[in-house]
Symmetry: C2
Subunit: 317 residues, 2 copies
Amino acid sequence: MSILVVGSVALDTVETPFGRVENALGGAATYFSTAASLYTNVKLVAVVGDDFPEEHVEFLRGRGVDLTGLQRRHGQTFHWAGRYEYDNLNNAQTLDTQLGLFAEFDPVLPEDYRDAECLFLANIDPVLQLKVLEQVRRPKLKVLDSMNFWISSNKPKLTEVISKVDVVLMNEGEALQYAETFSLVTAARTILALGPKVVLAKKGEYGAALFADRTYFFSPAYPLEVVKDPTGAGDTFAAGFLGYLDRAGEYSLSAMKRAVVHGSTVASFTIEDYSVDRLRTLTMDEIEQRADHFRHFTDADGEPIFEALQVSSLAGN
Amino acid sequence: MSILVVGSVALDTVETPFGRVENALGGAATYFSTAASLYTNVKLVAVVGDDFPEEHVEFLRGRGVDLTGLQRRHGQTFHWAGRYEYDNLNNAQTLDTQLGLFAEFDPVLPEDYRDAECLFLANIDPVLQLKVLEQVRRPKLKVLDSMNFWISSNKPKLTEVISKVDVVLMNEGEALQYAETFSLVTAARTILALGPKVVLAKKGEYGAALFADRTYFFSPAYPLEVVKDPTGAGDTFAAGFLGYLDRAGEYSLSAMKRAVVHGSTVASFTIEDYSVDRLRTLTMDEIEQRADHFRHFTDADGEPIFEALQVSSLAGN
């Protein structure tokens, strides 16, 4: 069992109302790999330059991530700088993007990557996503992420990729933008009509919704009191989702619902600290425990008492 | 069993991206009474003027709402005009407010109102809410709603009322504003520390969250494809919540969780049409059926197939 992920490995400068990090380890494929490696084998395809600290490579290798597909070239690593405002932690404001080597990124899959069971096409140019799809043999699950930039700049190509994957993962606002509607149900219907079996809409602090034929499932976000840095929440949501499914070797809608809860859980840990720092020490025990809390959050018929980590002392101070 | 509600009965002019109604039956106490009358006996305290159409009085009477406390006086009924934009259906933009007789509203409870089991203090001046609290004998459940205007203009008095009720019901943004925080968990903690046993945060299209000591419960909103008019969603959420509890005669946290699902359900019907129009024909069977759907939405371990009214044909067109 393994997941192939293609996307960005980056150095991020992030400001939040709670602090700032400079040139921290970032990028969608980094967040995804770091989190998914808790569940299963991860094969990474990405590019970094000679400014990319060796310690980050060692960190990923130390987590068992297969780096055969990590291209190390002469030039600059992808840099992203963003800021989150107090009243809109769901949406980063991009301050600066320096594509560097990522501008000419050509995702070539090492031979033994082509048989990965699961494929995660992180948010990159749909032209490159198509190129990856052409190289894989027969993955059991193909999941696509995208963003507003590609919806605006190359919707036809993005539509082509969407028609070839099993699961489309998008932020709520991006799904609405793609379908040109203000109803998420309508947006899901539009995207499902193109071929995918499942649409997963990420709503940030409001949770995530899964749409499929005659199926609707909703997972709230974990009620956190302390959020330090929302960067990577979406990518690690994808990691918990795909990691759970790949580890279970099961891709049914039932499994996907449980996988959504894992996605929400992993994302909730990610945002408790900067960069991938919280994931460095995160254990599967912690994930399982928090995932179990989610059942209590939404079970109208169960016992209401819930000893959550942060909610437990709600009325106690 | 009965619920006493004190609040506005109004004539609303509402614009949404889907249409417009003029001088339609509105007001928090109207929405609440109309919906809660499906569950239990409702006793209404409000004021209307001589411009208030007799047919609206007959409508409420026809639903069994006790109108002994409805003051009919010489002057103008409370008028509200608001608009909802396509991209922000959760928040009305107020275009005009004419308080009319509501400016001098003095909520005097008829003698037999004082023994109501449940009390809903709809969004009015906290000074008046306190006045009502002084007149009731020993209600088993006291629920308060408020809004940004009172938080800004009379926070000390609002705080006094909060300290005297069992459940505080607020929009998410208002709870954050009240507690001067950007964390809803922190806001809930702040409000619970003042005395209430439960904080219920309404998140519009994102559902509702219940906070209590060691308890967190979340109910998503019903996934609607067609929303005509969000007005009254919050008041009918309160009606489903309180109506369920009063009818059950049970006020435990377990009962409250099921009551939150009823609140979300009733609110979801309300916004399917203008004014109270959808509620005119709504039946308890329809409510029970949709409330049952909510269990499927959030049950990660159950069967995923869900024959929702509007989601059923998701991939079918």
